[in-house]
Symmetry: C2
DNA sequence: TCAGAACTTGGACTCCGGTCCAATCTTGAG
DNA sequence: CTCAAGATTGGACCGGAGTCCAAGTTCTGA
């Protein structure tokens, strides 16, 4: 069965497009493994290309800079987090619950693949490129903003705190705990985050 | 008048030592200016050496890596901050006052030389090198810890929060506000920090 | 089936951070 | 004044990121 002769441009040109996605993904996965083994700096583009079974030139075709890879991986994490937050939001939980669930979800994802997470966090949370860092941050904050706005609409919050400040407090604390976990993977990320979520929520509620 | 013929080794061997310090400082200053103009990555070691009027080789004599410069500059900022905190501590102010003063002092220092501060913050607060990032963090937290401990001793704090968590909340919020300021230098750092300090202190007090 | 578009590849090239070293200049001390 | 220890220098060298391009391969649409 042939595709209808649409004169509308097909965004998916079949096998071609599919292969591109596959290749892109292979590179990402290969890089993720290498980064989590040896770290970002100690992994060369050649090695990534090798592991993904493409040429160096092709690598740069997909990712104009090595660091774009890590940006993309970080993006995926953030997307996942935001999707979860949206879900929490939809369920209209009290702030305390919502925050705990969101943090808990995040902790779970991070603890699943600690070494990869650590590599990623170093390159996203502690990312040196300011623009990426903040666009990332902005999306994260937007997610938190949803929760806070909802809580505010329900009249849960103290009046003396702006949503912006609250988002900064929550976001900052989150990052700080992640950093602590990175340096001492012994301590349970989930516990720390949960403790923080509870405490924070309790201080914001009127 | 000659120096006594001490067989104890003199740590300061006169002009030699002094010149070294001067050179070190010249390099630091030159780098600071260049970083704040063009950013860290866009500044080459050659340019720094040139501006400091030393050879490339000498540069590497003083700073084995380009990034060590920024670490040192960051260190100086932190030292200054900690000294101030110690002072606050000595005056035994209530937490709210102490925090506001400390944040205020910091804001002042940062806003004095915004472009340099931004360059520095990118490389220290948002530093990619985990070890440096956290040793830095640790000292910062130690400083906050002083304040918190004192407040705790005076019985000012809620009992349900550990000092560690409080330090993480305060530190995280601080960093987050700095980042916001970096992306939008229009907004007043001092105001934001002050607002945050007041709010945070008020939530921690029993 | 086939032409052309889209993708891949190897290889040459530039730039920068970082290392090494032998030659030279500066300084402290007898 | 002398000279050895210490500091500075230029220049050669390496490895990795990123650019460019011409030639080869794979896919699509007709």
């Amino acid at each position: 069965m042939r595709r209808a002769h649409a004169n509308t441009k097909l965004p998916d040109r079949g096998r071609r497009e599919r292969k591109k996605l596959e290749t892109r993904d292979r590179i990402l996965q290969a890089a993720a493994h290498l980064f989590s083994d040896r770290g970002f700096d100690a992994t060369t583009v050649n090695e990534i290309a090798e592991a993904a079974d493409v040429s160096r030139a092709t690598f740069f075709n997909y990712f104009p800079e090595k660091s774009r890879i890590v940006a993309e991986l970080g993006d995926r994490m953030t997307r996942d987090f935001l999707a979860f937050v949206s879900d929490v939001h939809r369920r209209d939980l009290p702030l305390a619950e919502g925050l705990r669930e969101a943090f808990g979800h995040s902790a779970e994802a991070l603890e699943q693949r600690p070494s990869l997470s650590r590599a990623l966090l170093l390159e996203t949370v502690a990312r040196r490129d300011l623009d990426e860092r903040t666009s990332h941050l902005a999306r994260f904050h937007a997610g938190l903003g949803e929760l806070l706005q909802a809580a505010s609409d329900r009249g849960e919050l103290r009046d003396d705190a702006t949503p912006t400040l609250l988002a900064q407090i929550i976001g900052g604390t989150y990052v700080e705990i992640l950093l602590a976990w990175m340096t001492d993977p012994e301590l349970s990320l989930a516990e720390r985050l949960d403790e923080a979520a509870q405490f924070l929520a309790s201080t914001f509620v009127r």
